[in-house]
């Protein structure tokens, strides 16, 4: 049994079958990559895992509990954090504040009326945030306006925000899309580091084969809404079905 079990999930948009009979099992403490051509349904699948979309049929179990019918914040509180295709951060806030909020959310739950406490007095949470910022190599940016940073730094911050919650499952939707080569390499190094240092399960959608093969323990290939194969990276490279559906297209 994996920590995440997706069974027979279907999702239609009008007449379009975005997902049909999708099965996926992600084992604990592995990096599981989901690849496939544009429009294959990768993002749709991810959205079904975090409560943004509800599948028409099928089940999604996280750690033995169904996530279906729960709102995004409830699913996050179960231990799933998500990184978006374009970085979603609190642009108007400082980098430090961006890092504090997820830690507060983990400690205090979905809502707490802590209106007369002072952020400055929360030593423990500030220390945790500083720690994560150091891990992300962003300690020098703590006072910066988050919106004024480069795209690579925003991505780094977003990953840091997710990690600061110590999630059991981290979901990444094309974390290197639209990034310059240097930023991509930085992100890969960061993810490798995370994989090494922590007990964490990662499910990653990625277009860049270089990224996929340098990170993944297991790969699922999705084409036209259905999983084509699920296998170890070395077997995926040689698989003729994959070449046809995916590598052929990108070549």
């Amino acid at each position: 049994m994996g920590i995440l079990e997706v069974k027979n999930v279907n999702k239609n948009f009008g007449g379009l079958k975005a997902l049909s009979e999708v099965n996926l099992s992600v084992r604990e403490n592995t990096v599981h990559a989901i690849i496939g051509p544009n429009g294959a349904g990768k993002s749709t699948l991810l959205n079904c895992l975090v409560g943004k979309l509800i599948p028409d049929t099928g089940s999604v179990m996280f750690d033995g509990q169904s996530v279906l019918g729960r709102s995004p914040y409830e699913i996050n509180q179960m231990g799933i954090s998500r990184v978006f295709q374009t970085p979603e951060i609190f642009g108007d806030l400082t980098v430090m504040e961006n890092m504090l909020i997820p830690i507060f959310a983990r400690r205090d739950g979905a809502f707490r009326m802590h209106a007369f406490e002072s952020v400055a007095n929360e030593r423990e949470i500030i220390e945790q945030a500083e720690h994560v910022l150091e891990d992300m190599n962003m300690a020098d940016k703590r006072g910066m306006h988050a919106a004024s940073m480069s795209r690579g730094d925003k991505r780094r911050l977003e990953i840091g925000m997710c990690l600061s919650q110590e999630p059991r499952l981290l979901l990444l939707d094309e974390p290197t899309a639209g990034m310059a080569r240097a930023d991509t390499n930085n992100t890969i190094d960061l993810l490798k580091q995370i994989k090494q240092d922590r007990d964490i399960t990662i499910a990653i959608i990625e277009h860049d084969m270089h990224v996929v093969f340098s990170l993944a323990d297991r790969i699922t290939v999705l084409a036209q809404g259905t999983p084509l194969v699920e296998d170890d990276p070395q077997n995926i490279k040689g698989n003729p079905k994959v070449r046809e559906a995916y590598l052929g297209e990108s070549a």
Partner: protein, 406 residues
């Protein structure tokens, strides 16, 4: 001090000193001088500065922090006034229970209206609050005022009549709102040479209450709760995917701001024991939006500045008339004098709205951070002049955004 850092404590102290000394500061001109009409240090107007300051401080907790633009907050102010007057009618003229009840009733009202309106965001939220406020206005103006059931006394406005029960009223107490016997109208006038200064009991009650609620607002701004409210404004999607439920946060902010409005309404009735439906009209809701934006949305001191600015204009500019203008321009040759009066005329007296509108446009276009940003720019300019910083350095420095701290 009081759980505030040095900067906030300084701000609080400065505001405290300014409000306590306001009777002096606002009356800088000798009573008989031509400039005396610019004096604003009379009790009525000073009370209004403070009361609308409270209204705007509270409104800013909703609009400034979460970005939810409510067009209905005057409804809570009106509800607060009605509640207070009912306490006067039924129990006594003591202002404490009246003010207390106005806050509680406004809280209940805003809980209900907020719960419904916050199901939508953006323009739809604004329209919902506007609709609720106009419904409240209609209820107060006509529906809840009929011979069988007269809660608001319609057009005339709710007031205290001689045959009202006033169960706890005793003859030894003033026949006007009072605080344990101290009439809100009692005023001590200090004459110093050609100057005269009024110290009014009602004003000082308002001032003390404003200090308390301003302090509470600073605490909210600096709390994790306040940070969450700013996060709502910045990115709700990220909040949801970070395990935070935005709905109770926005509702809490809505109710808090509603309570501030109710407090303002209660104080208004405590200074002058009547309540009219026009207090709830949408123009009154719009005014608090203008105050907040003009002063500096999301800043601590901005709403107070904005409220003072607008109330000063409303009361002082509206009183300038052509006779006064002729006096001002008397030194000019007759033809030019008439011409100048002709030019300035539309902007004064009843035309003060025009002046305010133009000023508002200028501020929004050139100072998006409001008067607070203006102040910051001015002080930076002065500092630069003073220290003679390297000019090329200052040019390359990125524009700082106004921070919530100021």
């Amino acid at each position: 001090m009081l759980g505030l850092d040095k900067k906030d404590a300084t701000l609080l102290i400065v505001v405290a000193v300014l409000t306590l000394c306001a009777p002096f500061i606002l009356n800088p001109f000798p009573t008989d001088s031509a400039m005396a009409q610019f004096n604003a240090g009379y009790p009525d107007l000073m009370q209004r500065f403070i009361i609308f300051g409270i209204f705007a401080i509270g409104y800013n907790i909703l609009f400034g922090l979460t970005g939810y633009l409510s067009f209905g907050h005057a409804a809570f102010l009106g509800v607060g006034s009605y509640s207070a007057v009912w306490i006067f009618k039924l129990f006594s003229y003591n202002v404490l229970p009246a003010i207390g009840l106005s806050v509680v009733v406004a809280a209940i009202f805003s809980l209900f209206i907020g719960f419904v309106s916050l199901r939508r965001s953006g323009i739809y939220f604004s329209i919902l609050t506007l609709a609720f406020a106009q419904m409240s206005f209609a209820l107060a103006y006509s529906v809840l005022s009929n011979p069988k059931f007269n809660l608001t006394n319609g057009e005339t406005g709710l007031q205290v009549y001689a045959d009202d029960p006033q169960w706890f009223h005793r003859d030894s107490l003033p026949d006007l709102p009072h605080l344990f016997g101290l009439s809100m109208r009692s005023t001590y006038t200090l004459d110093v040479g050609a100057w005269s200064f009024d110290f009014n009991a009602g004003y000082y009650l308002c001032a003390v209450i404003m200090m308390v609620v301003f302090y509470l607002a600073i605490r909210i701004f600096r709390s994790p709760f306040g940070m969450m409210l700013r996060a709502v404004k910045s990115n709700q999607q990220r909040m949801n995917y970070t395990g935070l439920n935005t709905r109770p946060y926005t509702l809490a902010a809505f109710v808090i701001s509603g309570m501030y409005a109710g407090l303002a309404g209660g104080l208004m009735a405590a200074m002058d024991p009547l309540a009219g439906a026009e207090r709830m009209q949408w123009t009154a809701s719009g005014e608090v939006v203008l105050m907040t934006i003009l002063g500096g949305t999301g800043t601590l001191i901005g709403p107070i500045l904005g409220a003072g600015f607008i109330k000063y204009f409303e009361n002082i500019f509206s009183k300038i008339n052509d006779t006064v203008l002729h006096e001002w321009f008397a030194l000019l040759p007759d033809g030019i004098e008439d011409f100048m009066v002709f030019i300035v005329h539309p902007f004064i007296g009843k035309g003060w709205h025009l002046t305010l509108g133009l000023l508002f446009m200028l501020v929004v276009i050139f100072l998006p951070g409001g008067l607070v940003e203006g102040g910051q720019r001015l002080s930076r300019l002065l500092k630069r002049r003073g220290t003679k910083a390297k000019p090329e350095d200052s040019e390359h420095r990125p524009e700082e955004k106004p921070h919530v701290a100021e």
